[in-house]
Symmetry: C2
C-alpha cells in the first residue's frame, strides 16, 4: 500500500466492508462487480474503479473472491490495529457510543473515559470508570493514547482538541459540531454530523409524497 | 425540480449546506467553485458537476452567490418541511439525538417518543413525555406521523419498521444496525452506521504513524 487513496474512496471502504461481511456470513464466496453494485446501489464501474484504487482484486469474467476482498479491505482500513483511544465526554452520546460500538473490531482499543461532570465521574461505563477531566494530562503522559473520541459540547471541542494534539493524539473522531483546527494538518479528524443523513432523508421523502 | 438527483449527490448536499451556511455566517456573498472546492476538500469539477445536477447556479467567471445557493439547497433538501416524526427507542442514543439534533432545522417535527422500558416511560426528554410502545398504534392512527427515527436494538428493528410502514410511515432514520426490509421499496431508509467513520479514521491514521 504505497499509493495514496483518496478520502472519498476511504470513506466508501467501510460500506464495502459491511456488505462483503454480510455476503461472507451468507456463505457467498464470489461476486461480480455487477451483483455487488446492485446490492450496494452503486454502479459496477464505480465499484471496479474503487477497488482498482488499491490493486484490483477482480478477475475478468470471474468476479471478486469475497473472503480475499474482505481481508484486503480490513488490512487497508487498518481495523486489525489497536490504537489506544480515549473518550472525552460521557454524556448520553458518549455513553451510547461505548455501548454500541465494538471499538476493537474497528481498529481501536478504548483505554480511558473522561468527563467534567461530578455526577458521572467515578461511575462505570462499559467496564471503564469515568475519570475526571483534570486527570487527562497525567493519563496521556503515562498511557500514550493515540486517538481521541470527542463527544463533548461544541464550545469546548476546539480547545480540548488543541490540548490533546499537544499530548500526542494522532487521530480524532469528532461528534461535536465545533470545528477543530490542529497545528499538524496531517492529523486526521473524522467529523460526524448526525444531522446530515436526516437532511438527506428529508430530501428523499419529498419524492414519495 | 423535475429531474431525478442521484443518492450520491443527495448525500453530499447536507455538506454543501453546512459549508455554505458557514460562509454566509462569515459574511461571504459569493464564492468560486475553486475556492469552495479547497474549503470542502473536493475538486472544482466535482462541485460544478454536483451543482449542475439541479440547474447550475454558477455564472462563468463570477462564481456562486452564497445566499441564493444556500436557499436553493435548502429547498432541494426540503428542510423547510415539517414532517411529523416519532422516535422509537429512547435509551442513551435516542436521548442524545433529542438533545443534539434540531429537528425543525432539518425538515422534521418530533411529535412523540416511545420506549418499552418501564424505567424511562413517563420521563420527559426534550419536552416530550416518553410513551409506552403499546400506545404506538393508537398514536399513529390519531396523529399520522410521517417519519420514524429508530434508535432501538438491532433485533427488534425489522419488525418495528414493518409495523410502522403499515401505520403510514413514509421515511426511516435508522440507527439500529438491523436491516430494514419494507414492502414499498420507494420508502427511503437512511441507515446511520456510526462505526463507519471510525474505520475511515483508522485507515487515515495509518499514514501518519
Amino acid at each position: 500500500m504505497s499509493q495514496k487513496i483518496s478520502t472519498a474512496v476511504i470513506n466508501r471502504l467501510p460500506r464495502y466492508y459491511r456488505y462483503l461481511g454480510d455476503l461472507h456470513d451468507e456463505g457467498v464466496t464470489k461476486i461480480s462487480s455487477k451483483e455487488l453494485a446492485e446490492r450496494m446501489n452503486l454502479t459496477a464501474s464505480q465499484i471496479r474503479q474503487d477497488l482498482n484504487c488499491f490493486g484490483g482484486f477482480g478477475q475478468q469474467g470471474y468476479g471478486y473472491r469475497v473472503d480475499y476482498l474482505l481481508e484486503e479491505i480490513a488490512n487497508i482500513l487498518g481495523i486489525n490495529n489497536r490504537y489506544k483511544s480515549i473518550l472525552i465526554g460521557c454524556g448520553k452520546l458518549g455513553h451510547a457510543l461505548v455501548n454500541r460500538i465494538t471499538f476493537t473490531k474497528r481498529g481501536f482499543d478504548l483505554i480511558g473515559i473522561f468527563d467534567n461532570d461530578p455526577k458521572v465521574v467515578g461511575t462505570v461505563v462499559g467496564g471503564h470508570t469515568i475519570r475526571d477531566i483534570t486527570e487527562l494530562e497525567e493519563f496521556c503522559l503515562e498511557n500514550k493514547p493515540e486517538a481521541a473520541f470527542l463527544a463533548l459540547p461544541r464550545e469546548v471541542a476546539p480547545e480540548t482538541a488543541a490540548k490533546l494534539e499537544k499530548l500526542g493524539i494522532k487521530g480524532f473522531w469528532n461528534f461535536s459540531s465545533g470545528y477543530i483546527v490542529l497545528e499538524n494538518k496531517d492529523i486526521p479528524v473524522e467529523n460526524v454530523h448526525l444531522g446530515d443523513s436526516l437532511m438527506s432523508l428529508s430530501c428523499r421523502m419529498k419524492t414519495i409524497k
